[in-house]
Amino acid sequence: MSTLLESTVIESTQPGGTPRGPRRPRGGIRGGESASGWLFTAPTILLLGLFLLVPILMALWVSVSDWSGNGSPFSAGVHFVGAQNFGSVLSGGGLTEENFGISLKNNLWYVILVVPAQTVVALFLAVMVNRQILKGRGFFRTAFYFPSVTSSVAITVLWLFLFSQSGAINNVLSWLGVNGPNWFQEPSGIVQDALAGLGIRQGPSALTGGGFLGVSWWDWIGGPSVAMTALIFMAIFTTSGTFMLLFIAALQNLSGEVQEAAMVDGASGWQRFRFITLPQLRPTLFTVLTLGLIGGWQIFDQIYTGTQGGPAKTTTVPAYLSYTSAFHDQNWGQGAAIGFILFVIIIVFTILQRFALRDRAVSKRRMRLYTIETGGRR
């Protein structure tokens, strides 16, 4: 991969107006370039190395050690325990495995529901707001983007109030004759709730008997808890604005000619969107899905601020579990191990995404790199 990147660098510097090759003998008016090059990048290399590379190496060691948080992890009393920490997280039938299974199940449902929903909402808002005829576009863009600016802590505080037992959401629901739940205290899964509504309260033994990571299949398909659902709504609320901006940028780069031709041919608005706009938006769509996936597995602030994993562990996620294992329970090895497993999960999802992008890999990657500016804003 690194060679690929290097070649891209060289290729992309050449049209930038520097005709020289990358390697040049020193001396002349370009004397000492090598030194200043390293000097200019030194702070970045030093800080990223010290707070990214070194930490990862240290955590790798901790994840295969029995360090308990006292003294230095490199002191004599700390032993190498092999894959034991990974083992107790991924198998072993203990509480550790079950906790990890539950957190994985919670996060998986979160990702499954948030990613498509935020993408659809963002695309919908972008298409609506991008219409030339629309008056007050500035107002609407501001309104939809504003939640993306605020901190996750502030939004979570607001959400706790809106979704409280006698809060605004339940107030609105009561107008519709619905008796709203006590959102953040309700641990039942929404799929199981729906099935219970149909009279199915007990899962078939095929599902309750077996399981994975200490969680029965019946619970895996049980859906996110009501509490987690409130957090899902929050994620859609706060991220759709950011992704809307990405879609608007892409929409503005589309040529209007194809649209006009289709209009002349009598294509309806929906047909034009489905068969002309949407295919052209494919690269952006993939960007948004990838960023959404990566972001979805990183939910932490909201849990730390709002639910602390409760009720009944239904909002624990791997990132939060990793944090509590280490900082609260002093199981540093397990905490670090969970962190690395989460890392692998995120990488696997990213690679799957790249795999889906493979037909136009270079151009899309470059495109993605240039859209990071807006993507990373939140």
Binding site: T18, R23, S36, P43, F146, T156, A168, F343
Partner: protein, 300 residues
């Protein structure tokens, strides 16, 4: 209609399109009203929660519980704000957030542009490797680094200090990337001239190139300001003393109810509102730049 199109001079074609439009006018009007209605409803959904936040912070606690959706308080009170400023550490939190944000934003503007410039313009051995490393770093998700960062800070003795809170986020790979992209987009001729006039590389960077990079620097400022003001996890793992608590950490502790038994919603919402104001101000100042996405700083 297809017949008319086949007949085909451009003038005829235009006429067809025109007629087509005329026929649709009534339908279009209906569609347009529907569009506005839908957008307005969604806008209310996006804006109203913040209005609730503002107005509830001026309510009494019982009023907030009794009427969680209405805006106007039955009795206006600033009790929540008095409580925050007089009887809590809120001013300390605010100060800490401000300190961290100022340092991180300044640091990122300087270091990101230095590195970005070197990677875009200075020819040195190992440049490709450094750039590849920066890209690789961008791929590491930050939540995975919580424990690792704590380990390093603890080992080198920076845990529970401003330095420990600031240094790990003083440079960001994404910012380096944005600056590199920008420097590549500006013509090299200006630098060549200055070089011939005998300017050193740093001088060239500082007084010739950097002033030209204003749009990209504004992007970095916006991103860094928002990023460090809203940062939570980095401060959780780098400090524990109450003197070093930032707004995000402090308000999170308020929210999880460690302070009192009552629900204290007006207090919490007042805190959330106050911590939103600086980023909101930043957003409204640079609004046109942020929202006008067709005119980004990172255009090639």
């Amino acid at each position: 209609m297809s017949v008319a199109v086949k007949a085909g001079s451009p003038a005829e074609l235009k006429q067809v399109v025109y007629k087509h439009r005329e026929k649709l006018t009534r339908k279009q009007l209906a569609t347009r009203s529907l569009l506005y209605a839908v957008l307005l409803i969604i806008a209310v959904i996006y804006v109203y929660p913040f209005l609730i936040e503002i107005f509830t912070s001026f309510k009494t606690e019982s009023d907030a519980t009794a009427d969680p959706i209405g805006l106007i308080p039955t009795t206006w009170t600033t009790a929540a704000y008095q409580q925050l400023f007089v009887n809590s550490d809120f001013p300390v939190w605010f100060k800490n957030s401000a300190i961290v944000t100022v340092f991180v934003t300044t640091g990122r503007v300087f270091f990101d542009s230095l590195a970005g410039y070197a990677l875009a313009r200075i020819h040195f051995r190992g440049r490709g490797f450094v750039f590849a490393a920066v890209v690789a770093v961008m791929a590491v998700p930050s939540v995975v680094l919580l424990i690792p960062k704590f380990l390093v800070l603890n080992t080198i003795g920076l845990y529970d200090s401003y330095a420990g809170m600031i240094l790990p986020i003083l440079v960001d790979a994404a910012g380096v990337f944005i600056m590199k992209g920008f420097f590549e987009s500006i013509p090299a001729s200006v630098e060549e001239q200055a070089r011939i006039d005998g300017a050193g590389t740093f001088r060239l960077f500082w007084s010739v190139v950097l002033p030209m990079a204003r749009p990209a620097l504004i992007t970095i400022i916006i991103l860094s300001f928002q990023g460090s003001w809203n940062e939570l996890s980095q401060f959780i793992i780098s400090s524990q003393s109450p003197n070093l608590t930032t707004l995000t950490k402090g308000v999170a502790s308020l929210a999880s109810g460690q302070v009192g038994s009552a629900n204290r919603y007006p207090l919490k919402l007042a805190a959330a509102l106050l911590m939103t104001i600086p980023v909101a101000a930043m957003f409204f100042i640079f609004q046109s730049k942020i929202l006008n996405t067709s005119d980004g700083a990172v255009k090639e």
